[in-house]
């Protein structure tokens, strides 16, 4: 637990001091144990999401960074994207099987920005309705079958 907090403390400081463009940690949302953070994100200029604002919710378990964080979109605006379900769950392999402890909140944010930026058509995943009705609250419990990256 202590090592998880120590690492999150370092990440939080780095992200506050030197955030990637369009990314801000909502400091008021960070819990005392550092196990929950909310991150505000702007749609990148020149992409289909330009001008939109999103919120990401990060939840860290005691085994972070060996276990991936739980990351979902939250708040009023969930991006309409083929890998983002309307309940905020994100189908992104680094959040489950391709997670590595060398990844961080910052690298997850950059991956999500890049995922949004490469979108060519704003639409929900084809199985959105079924998934949203049947899935667990925790996206990490979903056995994802990763979509083709070219979508």
């Amino acid at each position: 637990m202590a090592s998880m907090q120590k690492r999150l403390q370092k990440e939080l400081l780095a992200l506050q001091k030197d955030p990637p463009p369009g990314v801000r940690v909502d400091e008021a949302s960070v819990t005392k144990s550092l196990s929950t953070w909310q991150v505000d994100m702007d749609g990148a200029p020149g992409t289909l999401f330009e001008g939109e604002k999103f919120q990401l919710l990060f939840k860290f378990g005691p085994r972070y960074p060996f276990d991936s964080p739980q990351v979902v979109f939250t708040g009023p605006n969930i991006p309409v994207h083929p890998h983002v379900y309307s309940n905020g769950h994100i189908c992104l392999s680094i959040l489950t099987e391709d997670w590595s402890p060398a990844l961080s909140v910052q690298s997850v944010c950059l991956s999500i920005i890049s995922m949004l930026s490469s979108c060519k058509e704003k639409k929900r995943p084809p199985d959105n309705n079924f998934y949203v009705r049947t899935c667990s609250k925790n996206p990490k419990k979903t056995k994802w079958w990763y979509h083709d990256d070219s979508v």
Partner: protein, 177 residues
């Protein structure tokens, strides 16, 4: 477009010169200065306890956390800084792998009568030499020789004489062949 984002990110990172210097010897997992440091063959630095925990987390898929190259307990090199041994000698749950001493390469060619050389040049003779060894070290690892005078001692004496003769005949045969 995504390239723009990454480019800007890298630029911002490069801006903090002091941080970059400090980061050189930080563990890629805990982001602290690496303790009980090991380096992977792909050159990535970790604390051994951190890396060990990661290897245990995914025993069937052991990849470098940074670059996804194959990695394993046997394929990391421990780093020893000066004065490292003065560190708190706590009993480390995952012991750091030992530094290895691979044999230096023989650049001058020809045989050396070292460990490997002997076995290679006499490889064909392995059976007879093994036989000699067992003949001459008859009592190895067993209770000591039976006291002289007993029938057992007599038997052993006969046996070892017999083996000695077989050995001598065999050597003779080797010389003649």
């Amino acid at each position: 477009m995504s390239a723009d984002v990454t480019g800007d990110g890298a630029g911002a990172e490069g801006g903090g010169g002091a941080d970059v210097d400090q980061g050189t010897y930080e563990c890629n997992i805990c982001l602290d200065t690496a303790r009980d440091a090991v380096v992977s063959l792909c050159g990535h630095l970790f604390c051994w306890p951190c890396l060990h925990q990661w290897l245990e987390t995914r025993p069937n898929r052991q990849l470098c956390p940074v670059c996804k190259a194959g990695i394993s307990r046997d394929k990391v090199i421990p780093l020893y800084g000066r004065g490292g041994s003065q560190m708190d000698p706590r009993t480390k749950t995952p012991p750091r792998p030992q530094g290895q001493r691979p044999e230096p390469e023989n650049n001058h060619g020809g045989w050396t009568f070292g460990d490997g050389g002997f076995q290679m040049s006499f490889g064909i003779g392995a059976f007879p030499f093994g036989f000699f060894a067992s003949a001459f070290n008859f009592n190895d690892g067993r209770p000591g020789p039976a006291p002289p005078g007993t029938p057992q001692a007599e038997e052993e004496r006969v046996l070892s004489t017999l083996f000695l003769w077989i050995a001598l005949i065999f050597m003779f045969w080797l010389l003649m062949a």
